[in-house]
């Protein structure tokens, strides 16, 4: 009798928690959408903008790293290509922004496919260092070809409003999260996961590793490119070579690992954590946040591969055991 009652209680608890998760997410999204309506504070909006941007970068990197199992250290190149395309089309060619924005993602994707066809011939860690080298080569080349600061024209600055930037970044982050959530439901994901687990075995069963890796890369670079476009929309002036800097890769890597690689929530948690800690410490102890992230990163790799997300779920399991 007692066992049956405990079972019923357990079931009720399960039902409650499964309703709770989407409810919490819905609340967070609604709050995020409403923030600009309730506050004019630039620093809040800027902070949240950065959060959304970093979440997107982390999420997009995770598509190739967690989902497809490839550590790409050239992610910044796609960000840079997206930024350059969007900015160029929007400011120089007078293309309507949303078109330029979309083109940023598409051009980054096209570039990535070429990039991938070359680099996917390398495996494992050689792929990682090969992509890093190529991305650095691109940064140096861009620094040579476009050494001057890229600034918005006067009239555009005059019309500058923070709100649309905020919503663009938020929308992109939501779009990226939704895509990652839906990915496992696609048939192609079976192939991608097979390649991730054991490329040779996958190939032997008739799965084409290159095509599946390119698929993940295309998605990854598309979002990175869009993130670059968002950056180009947001910043009044910047050095083009900065958008190709490896910090964009490494920050995404840090955020993803610390948050939890291979999960949907991981990059989100990691991105939020990353920006909040960074901005909190930015005033007083500038470098400390990097030391913290570096150390956390090492700890995650050595001890807790699932990152903060795994730490959280372990704590929860511990808590439920205590409660019952």
């Amino acid at each position: 009798m007692r066992a049956a009652r405990r079972l019923a209680k357990g079931e009720a608890y399960q039902r409650l928690t499964s309703l709770l998760k989407p409810a919490v997410i819905a609340v967070i999204v609604v709050v995020a959408l409403l923030v600009p309506q309730f506050t004019d504070r630039r620093d809040t909006l800027n902070l949240l903008f950065l959060v959304y941007l970093y979440v997107t970068m982390a999420q997009s990197w995770n598509i190739l790293a967690g989902y497809a199992g490839q550590i790409n250290l050239g992610h910044a190149a796609f960000f840079g290509v997206g930024a350059w395309t969007t900015r160029g089309l929007w400011t120089d060619e007078d293309v309507p922004f949303m078109v330029a924005f979309l083109m940023g993602g598409l051009v980054a994707m096209a570039f990535a496919i070429v990039f991938g066809i070359i680099t996917f011939r390398l495996r494992g860690v050689y792929f990682a260092i090969g992509t890093l080298a190529l991305a650095e080569a691109m940064r140096l080349t861009v620094a040579n070809l476009l050494p001057n600061i890229e600034a918005l024209p006067g009239p555009t600055i005059a019309r500058y409003e923070l709100e649309p930037r905020y919503y663009l970044a938020l929308g992109l982050a939501l779009f990226a999260a939704a895509t990652v959530l839906l990915l496992p439901r696609l048939r192609i994901s079976l192939g991608v996961l097979a390649v991730r687990e054991d490329e040779a075995a996958a190939e032997a069963s008739g799965v084409n590793p290159l095509l599946h890796k390119l698929f993940a890369l295309a998605l990854s670079s598309f979002f990175a490119g869009l993130a670059g476009g968002t950056f180009a929309f947001y910043h009044v002036s910047y050095y083009p070579s900065f958008t190709f800097s490896s910090v964009w890769t490494f920050d995404a890597v840090l955020a993803t690992f610390i948050g939890g690689i291979g999960t949907v929530a991981g990059p989100i948690v990691g991105g939020v954590f990353f920006i909040f800690v960074r901005e909190r410490l930015a005033v007083s102890l500038v470098e400390v946040h990097q030391i913290i992230f570096g150390t956390l990163f090492i700890l995650v790799v050595l001890i807790l591969p699932g990152g903060l997300v795994e730490a959280w779920s372990r704590l929860r399991r511990l808590a439920t055991r205590v409660i019952r």
């Binding site: 550590i71 070359i118 680099t119 011939r121 390398l122 494992g124 860690v125 050689y126 990682a128 260092i129 090969g130 890093l132 080298a133 190529l134 650095e136 080569a137 140096l140 080349t141 040579n144 490896s246 490494f250 890597v253 840090l254 690992f257 500038v286 470098e287 400390v288 990097q290 030391i291 992230f293 570096g294 150390t295 956390l296 990163f297 090492i298 790799v301 050595l302």
Partner: protein, 292 residues
């Protein structure tokens, strides 16, 4: 055509190449022996550079002589790093080990770079000795003392390491471990201890390279990544496991970079190395002198 500037350029390429060689040797050793890819190697070079700079600034010790101090200092630091961090991944299989060593050494780079900023600020430092501007001139080609000394010291360092590995019992044990750690273990070789020594040696070599960097280049917390990449290029060019080969490949890279400025222009000098790196990875992954 006036060949003098070309030859001068090549001569400087030779000097730079020697530095590239010794920068790479430590990385090659560690990867060859225990399949650990330490991308913080450049940051260790940076630390060696700072050690040299402070010994020079506070105590006036000549940068080439202070290697006798910074070498052991970084050897000890390398031991601490290995025992504190890298030893925990050596129980993994080769592929996992390489991947995880890449990741944790990336974290280490961040930590080292930013600790350096906190301690010494982001300002660029260089060691300027009293004889910095002097040199000898042969047939119109300048041979600055500092550059010549750097090349000689680099060559000596590499040669000493090579001799240690090939002629001493401990060195042969390291090579045996690198070739087949299980067989080495069956000889009574303490493989864990060998790994510590190899890693510490690699760090000491990085320290030595750092000393030379402080004289011929600039030392700043951010130089880590660039030097790691440079060392990686040389290691891949040479092929894993070849110490003398790494030195030769370093010189080769220095000369190729020097010549490349006539083809693509000086501002693309670094790009040449990186593209060559990817090319070698794609076409001849075992490198020019590699074993398998």
């Amino acid at each position: 055509m006036n060949l003098e500037p070309v030859i001068q350029n090549l001569v400087f390429g030779l000097f730079v190449g020697g530095l590239y060689g010794i920068a790479a040797v430590g990385l090659s050793l560690v990867f060859g022996v225990q399949k650990v890819l330490n991308v913080a190697h450049g940051s260790l070079i940076m630390l060696g550079g700072y050690a040299t700079f402070w010994l020079f600034t506070w105590y006036g010790i000549d940068p080439f002589l202070s290697i006798l101090l910074t070498g052991p200092l970084l050897f000890a630091f390398g031991m601490a790093l290995y025992l504190g961090m890298f030893q925990f991944i050596t129980r993994l299989g080769e592929e996992e080990r390489i991947k995880n060593s890449l990741l944790i050494s990336f974290g280490l780079t961040l930590v080292l770079e930013n600790v350096a900023i906190r301690l010494w600020t982001a300002d660029e430092r260089a060691v300027t000795t009293s004889y910095a501007g002097d040199g000898i001139t042969i047939e119109g080609i300048a041979f600055p003392y500092t550059r010549v000394a750097s090349l000689i010291v680099a060559a000596i360092g590499v040669f000493v390491l090579h001799t240690f590995l090939t002629r001493t019992f401990a060195g042969k044990a390291i090579r045996a471990t690198s070739e087949d750690w299980e067989a080495a273990s069956l000889m009574g070789i303490n493989v864990q201890r060998t790994y510590v020594v190899a890693f510490a040696l690699g760090t000491a070599m990085a320290g030595m390279a750092g000393a030379l960097v402080s004289v011929s280049y600039l030392v700043a917390p951010s130089i880590g990544l660039a030097w790691t990449l440079k060392a990686l290029v040389v290691v891949v060019l040479a092929g894993m496991g070849s110490i003398l080969g790494a030195f030769a490949a370093g010189i080769l890279l220095g000369l190729v970079e020097a010549l490349s400025i006539y083809v693509v222009g000086a501002s693309y000098r670094e790009v040449v190395g990186l593209l060559l790196f990817v090319l070698v990875l794609l076409v001849r992954p075992q490198g020019l002198f590699g074993r398998h």
